[in-house]
C-alpha cells in the first residue's frame, strides 16, 4: 500500500462521513415530520371532540332553555326557607298571625329521595277549628306566599262548635340540599 492508496482511503472515508451526516440530518427531518403528523392528527381529533362537545352543549342548552328558566324562576322561592328550624318557626308564626284556633301542631323531618336536590322536607301536621272563611283564607295566603309548600292532605269536617270547621292539614316545606 502506498501513499496514493492511503489518500484514497482517507478521501473515501471523508465522503462517507459527509454522506452519513446528510443521512443523519435527513433522518432527523423525517422523524420530525412523523412527529408533526402525529401531533396534527391528535390536534384534528381534539378539534373533532371539541366540535362534538360544543354541538352537544348547544343542543342541550337549546332543549333545556325553558326548563332552566323555570328553575331560575323557582329557585329563589326554595332558598327562602332552607332549614327545618326556620320552616317550623315560619309555620308557627303564620298560625299565630292568622289568629286561628289550632288544636294541635306537630312538626317532623321527612326524608324524600336520597341524593336529590330536595332530599328532605319539614312536615307540619296541624289541626284547626275555626270559621270557614278564616281557615280557607289562611290556607290560601300560605299557598300563595310560599308556593313551594306542598299541601299533602286536607280534611274538612264539622267542628265542635256550631258554624266552625275542623281542618286537619298536612303541609310540607321542601328543604334544599345544602
Amino acid at each position: 500500500m502506498n501513499h496514493k492508496h492511503i489518500s484514497l482511503i482517507v478521501v473515501a472515508v471523508l465522503a462517507f462521513l459527509f454522506i452519513e451526516a446528510t443521512l443523519w440530518v435527513r433522518g432527523k427531518k423525517e422523524a420530525s415530520a412523523k412527529a408533526e403528523q402525529k401531533v396534527a392528527s391528535e390536534e384534528s381529533h381534539a378539534r373533532q371532540l371539541l366540535a362534538i362537545e360544543t354541538a352537544n352543549l348547544n343542543r342541550l342548552q337549546a332543549s333545556s332553555k325553558d326548563l332552566i328558566a323555570f328553575l331560575d324562576a323557582w329557585q329563589p322561592h326554595f332558598e327562602v326557607i332552607n332549614t327545618p328550624q326556620s320552616a317550623e318557626v315560619n309555620f308557627t308564626m303564620r298560625i299565630k298571625d292568622g289568629n286561628l284556633v289550632s288544636l294541635s301542631q306537630r312538626y317532623e323531618r321527612a326524608s324524600l329521595k336520597a341524593g336529590s336536590s330536595i332530599p328532605s322536607s319539614l312536615r307540619a301536621v296541624v289541626t284547626f277549628e275555626d270559621n270557614f272563611a278564616g281557615l280557607l283564607n289562611w290556607l290560601g295566603r300560605l299557598e300563595a306566599d310560599l308556593p313551594t309548600v306542598r299541601t299533602t292532605g286536607v280534611r274538612l269536617g264539622k267542628g265542635t262548635r256550631p258554624g266552625d270547621l275542623r281542618m286537619d292539614l298536612t303541609v310540607e316545606q321542601p328543604l334544599l340540599k345544602q
Binding site: 459527509f18 390536534e43 324562576a73 286536607v154
Partner: protein, 202 residues
C-alpha cells in the same frame, strides 16, 4: 576509471512513474468526494431548514392542541354543570307540579254546594309516589243526585278530571271518591316574589 554499478544506482532519484497507476475505480474516489461534499452541504441545508420548519409547526400544533383540549374540557364541564342543573330543574319542576294550591279547589267545591246540601266530610290527599295526583273523598249530605254533578263541574272548572271514580248513594248522603289529575299540561308559575324568612317576625 571504472565506477561500480551499484553505487551509481544509489544516486538515482526515485521516479514518479515507477509507482503503479491507480485503478480506474480509484480515480473516481476524488470525484465522488467532491460530489458528496457538494450534495451533503446542499441537502443538509435543505433538510435542516425543513427540520426547523417542522419543529416550528410541531410547537404551534402542540399549542393549538393544548388550547383545543382545554376548550373541550371547559365545554365538557359546562355540559356537566348544565346536566346537573337540568336534573335539579326536573326535580324542582316535579315538586312544584305536586304543590299546586288546593285552596282554590276546596273553595270551588264548597261553593258548588247548593242550599239544602252540606259537606259532611271532605278529604284531599296527595299520593306519595305521584303527588301531582289528588285523591278526593267527599261525603255530601243531600237529597239530590245532581249535587254531585255540580261538585264535579267545579272540579273540572279547576282543571282537574277524575279517574277511577266510586260513588255510594245512601238515603240522604252521597259518598264519592276519585283520583284527580290535571287536564292541562301548563306548568305552574310563581305568582309572588320570594319573601324573606319570617323568623324575626313577632
Amino acid at each position: 576509471m571504472q565506477i561500480q554499478k551499484t553505487i551509481i544506482d544509489d544516486f538515482k532519484t526515485d521516479r514518479k512513474d515507477i509507482l503503479p497507476p491507480l485503478p480506474l475505480t480509484g480515480r473516481l474516489v476524488p470525484i465522488l468526494f467532491y460530489a458528496s461534499v457538494f450534495a451533503a452541504i446542499v441537502l443538509s441545508a435543505i433538510f435542516a431548514l425543513q427540520l426547523k420548519i417542522s419543529k416550528g409547526r410541531i410547537e404551534s400544533l402542540r399549542q393549538e392542541l393544548s388550547e383545543t383540549q382545554k376548550r373541550a374540557a371547559d365545554t365538557k364541564s359546562e355540559r356537566a354543570a348544565l346536566e346537573e342543573r337540568i336534573l335539579r330543574a326536573n326535580e324542582v319542576e316535579a315538586w312544584v307540579e305536586g304543590s299546586r294550591p288546593l285552596q282554590p279547589l276546596i273553595i270551588a267545591i264548597t261553593r258548588s254546594i247548593q242550599e239544602g246540601s252540606s259537606i259532611q266530610d271532605m278529604r284531599l290527599t296527595r299520593r306519595e309516589d305521584t303527588p301531582e295526583q289528588l285523591h278526593l273523598s267527599i261525603s255530601i249530605g243531600t237529597d239530590s243526585i245532581a249535587q254531585l254533578d255540580r261538585v264535579l263541574d267545579a272540579v273540572h272548572g279547576q282543571g282537574y278530571r277524575e279517574i277511577s271514580p266510586q260513588q255510594t248513594v245512601n238515603r240522604s248522603q252521597i259518598d264519592y271518591q276519585a283520583t284527580l289529575v290535571r287536564q292541562s299540561a301548563n306548568g305552574p308559575t310563581p305568582e309572588t316574589e320570594p319573601q324573606p324568612e319570617e323568623q324575626g317576625k313577632s
